[in-house]
């Protein structure tokens, strides 16, 4: 039987994490399914477990003049109802699962789970969110694009846990989220898309695209984005074929039970095209 701890304070959690290797469980809504057992039997975890969802001190949404700070045990529904949370993140959470799951699941859990189809991740990539990782003797902050390294692979040491998500406050002229899935709630994305653009005096000051479920991690490419930043809007629109051919090679979806690679790639490129045309 695996060893199980229930941490109720951050200090307690960090001490436990320092004493061995544990699977960290917040709301558990993904972990329970990944380690699902037969009805009536305990969850079949393969590793020792530390539960952190009852750490109240990490249940917050704060802000200062520059950033929004979301604690690791803040539930998705709390973020959805917060006036401080960025609208694009709320738009996405609105389409994540149903209210019953959103009342227990966390944003930090969706990040730690590091699924290429993790819906919140596309927004966090476009917003350039940072992840605060804490151990008993160190605190560091990592950009989400560096934190997520592959399918369920994250840059987290065994004595660390995610304690906070930091999102810089920023203005865009237009931000669009599109989830391609068979139903509004409770569906894992075939693919997901976030596009953000900032236009000042008809110049593309900022342009960002993130795509989910089309590669081993969410796809965002700042090199391509930089190519079009500073361009007059009309010229940017005239270059639509060039933008599409830039993105074409980095969109590498797979076939699975939800969709196939041809469909995913076609729709991903169409969403980029549509976003530019309507900007």
């Amino acid at each position: 039987m695996v060893k199980t701890h229930i941490a109720k304070t951050l200090n307690n959690a960090l001490e436990i994490l320092n004493s061995g290797t544990y699977r960290i469980v917040a709301g558990g809504t993904d972990m329970l399914i990944q380690n699902r057992s037969h009805t009536g039997l305990p969850i079949a975890y393969k590793d020792d477990v530390i539960y952190i969802n009852l750490i109240d001190e990490l249940d917050y949404i704060k802000e200062d003049s520059k950033n929004i700070y979301i604690g690791a045990t803040t539930r998705l529904e709390t973020i959805l109802r917060s006036e401080k949370a960025p609208n694009i993140l709320k738009d996405i959470i609105h389409e994540m699962a149903g209210p019953g799951i959103r009342h227990t699941a966390t944003l930090a859990g969706n990040i730690g789970n590091a699924s290429p189809a993790g819906d919140s991740l596309v927004a966090l990539y476009v917003l350039g969110a940072s992840i605060k990782c804490q151990s008993i003797d160190n605190t560091r902050t990592v950009k989400i694009m560096d934190f997520i390294q592959g399918v369920r692979k994250i840059d987290l040491k065994s004595n660390e846990m995610i304690t906070e998500i930091i999102i810089a406050k920023q203005d865009f002229t237009r931000v669009i989220f599109k989830k391609v899935a068979p139903r509004l709630s409770d569906a894992i994305s075939k693919l997901s898309f976030v596009g953000a653009i900032k236009i000042i005096d008809n110049i593309v000051e900022d342009f960002r695209i993130a795509l989910g479920a089309v590669s081993i991690t969410v796809v965002r490419n700042e090199e391509i984005e930089n190519k079009y930043r500073g361009m007059p809007l009309q010229e940017f629109k005239d270059n639509i074929d060039s933008v599409i051919s830039d993105y074409e090679p980095i969109i590498k979806p797979i076939d699975d039970q939800r969709s196939n690679k041809e469909y995913r790639k076609h729709v991903a490129l169409n969403l980029i095209k549509d976003f530019i045309i309507k900007s």
Binding site: I6, R36, E77
Partner: protein, 157 residues
């Protein structure tokens, strides 16, 4: 084995159990509260819905560990309230029940919704019930039932 203390249907409970059990199994097996059903077992159908601190939650996706110190109300506990009577009568009157398997979850979802939003629009009802599946009614009659409950129980929520 870990000692877990929580409030269940208004009563304090202390149990010694494996914290990695699902709340749904604990409710059904240890407390004989079989109103919460296992449908999909992965948080998609809402048949296992309970109120966690007054808000709908899927008990099939809650480890017992996360219940420590929390307040759980199942359909059995909720059935002793005035709010339940109004919702039950409205589901009966508007035809929101057919086979009945989803009904405890639908009623919990209705309570969670009306508690936060006593006069929801059709769209808000659809969002409030979006985590609960019904394979019989086609949902229209359930939406009608929720609207009737909101009207009849005007002063309750």
């Amino acid at each position: 084995m870990t000692e877990i203390k929580f409030k269940l249907n208004g009563k304090k409970q202390v149990i010694k159990s494996n914290p990695n059990r699902r709340l749904l199994d604990v409710l059904r097996e240890d407390f004989d509260l079989t109103g919460s059903k296992e449908g999909c077992g992965e948080g998609e159908c809402g048949a296992c819905s309970v109120l966690l601190n007054g808000q709908i939650a899927n008990s099939c996706c809650i480890p017992l560990a996360n219940v420590d110190g929390q307040d759980i109300v199942t359909i059995e506990g909720f059935s002793k309230t005035k709010e339940y009577q109004v919702i039950k009568d409205s589901f009966a009157e508007a035809g929101g029940v057919q086979c009945g398997f989803c009904t405890p979850g639908m009623i919990i979802a209705t309570q969670s919704l009306l508690n936060e939003n006593p006069h929801p629009s059709d769209y808000e009802i659809k969002i409030g019930l979006s985590g609960n599946l019904c394979r019989c009614t086609g949902y229209n009659l359930i939406i009608k039932s929720v609207k009737l409950a909101a009207k009849d129980g005007d002063d309750l929520w």
